[in-house]
Symmetry: C2
Subunit: 343 residues, 2 copies
Amino acid sequence: MAKRPNKVTIVDVATEAGVSFGTVSRVLNQDAHVKSETRQRVLETIHRLGYVANHQARSLASGVSKVVGVLVPDLGTGYIGEIMRGIDVELGISGHDLVLYTTHRAAAKEANYVANLAQSMVDGLLIVLPRKPADYTGTLTERKFPFVLIDHQGTGEDCAAVGATNWQGAYSATEYLIKLGHQRIGFITGSLDLGAALDRLDGYKSALRTYHLAVDPQLIYEGTFNQPDGYTGAGCLLELEQPPTAIFASNDMMAMAAMDAARDRGYHVPQDISILGFDDIPQASLVRPALTTVRQPLEQMGRVATQMLLEIIGGARSKTSRIELPTELIQRNSTAAPKDRTG
Amino acid sequence: MAKRPNKVTIVDVATEAGVSFGTVSRVLNQDAHVKSETRQRVLETIHRLGYVANHQARSLASGVSKVVGVLVPDLGTGYIGEIMRGIDVELGISGHDLVLYTTHRAAAKEANYVANLAQSMVDGLLIVLPRKPADYTGTLTERKFPFVLIDHQGTGEDCAAVGATNWQGAYSATEYLIKLGHQRIGFITGSLDLGAALDRLDGYKSALRTYHLAVDPQLIYEGTFNQPDGYTGAGCLLELEQPPTAIFASNDMMAMAAMDAARDRGYHVPQDISILGFDDIPQASLVRPALTTVRQPLEQMGRVATQMLLEIIGGARSKTSRIELPTELIQRNSTAAPKDRTG
DNA sequence: GTGAAAGCGCTAACAG
DNA sequence: CTGTTAGCGCTTTCAC
């Protein structure tokens, strides 16, 4: 209703330049079949009139919106911010706009809400950290709608995804702790309905086995990736008759909370207890002592996922594939050799 | 080009339901003039066919896109995340979608890039933390395009904006430090081209004057809101012959870096030196000692700004106005009375 | 090379 | 109450 005033259309440009509006369209779309003289004149007119192509009209006519939807659980964490940065960079290069959906919003609507909005608005979807991927992947795959999952270990689904080497990262970190001399290493898991959480747990267990250390169920606390679990979990672990000398939390938020829990019980980190995290969110280097952690290449994950999505949209890549980016152990000051080795 | 297959249009629904597609449109738009019996039938058909309205077509025909653009400098900081959360909530309620633009991207293009994209895509714009507001406000105001500035103290511009009581917050915090017994209070400013930074500096100075303390230029270090300035600034301040017993940084990032600087020089916080920040970003409560700071109601700022924008878009509010939300001093553990009062 | 014409899927004004 | 009609601004054949 509220039509914007002073809008210049393709017709205005055509009239001014003395050509048909079809020609203007050709110029706009880099069509080669335009005399360069004509092209110049049109370009000049466009500039002079301050013409801006109407996105909606263009999408409607062409069937391509040049918009990508990004579905995220939340924006509060630096974690998502890093991924978003990578997405933004790639989208900027390819000239796509980015519409942001929050899972929270999506959850409020019917199950195929995502599929619906996708259908009516964007060319493809980037889904960050999906808790219940099945909610999306079904309809989306069925409708052959382009999408890529970020940081999710599919448990069987057959769709494009990018993640990190969670198993490897957890294995290396545990190995590092073991080599430091730790024999009893506590572990705080993430939400075990998430593949990433499972893989990290497996990596931890495998490392223990490799070094012939027992996998003690008492030393494994089941968390949910949320900060409070780190505090509670570390608390439980430290109350044990034989408390661990190191605690490996499945993400940095929980690790930081674990540090608090240890401190509140009079432990000094890392002298009395080593704490190790996962993710390397920006805060990890800020806390004291700075957190030793497994870095996920979050920004890169965003970039790679976006590139994949763009290829799928362009029809260049149809194969469902999963890419795993390498993790890296970042040694800082929250880990050290245990005090005594009476493990 | 790549037309999506299996798309159900309003015409399909109409045919199936045995009505004209105009009637379907009425049902879609909650038009009262439809027999409830017909409405039911149409609704049922829509559901059965899995019809989804095409966003672009609707926007094109109606001139309203139900999309709001949000322009942010970055996503890495929890700061923006909080504001975004507020925006998202309100937009969710009003049924608008949100397209995200990064200042970084915008800066790469011509000056009126923002105005252009606005014109062709969204109903309104929310601009978070604009460094050079003039770049946007000019064209936007001229074209009567709805927009609201978030967390920016206009220096003369006459446009809708929401911010916080920066002066008041800085005044109260300084007063708190004085009452604790501090006489020499260092101050690290933000970018002084920003109104918010200026207001905080003024609040600090005013509080000193109120309590008849000298405003010593040596104690004021000019920063830019970026983390490194906190470290450098605190370093300079502490090297002074008569170093301050407290340092008030214009945001939390700098305050946290100031804590590091103090620690690296052998100071204990808060015993030897008090540190105070501004913003209350999520990390503030996480660092050790937890940071005493001035809380800005970031999420609420996002909500209020969105409400304003929606009103402007709806034509309900045309008056340019600025809303200031109250700040609040959050006492934590980085501040204490000075050791001795030989100020 | 360029113009003309047919839609894209929908809203909105106008008939009836 | 409902059908019809004319666009919204642009892409894309198809002629010439």
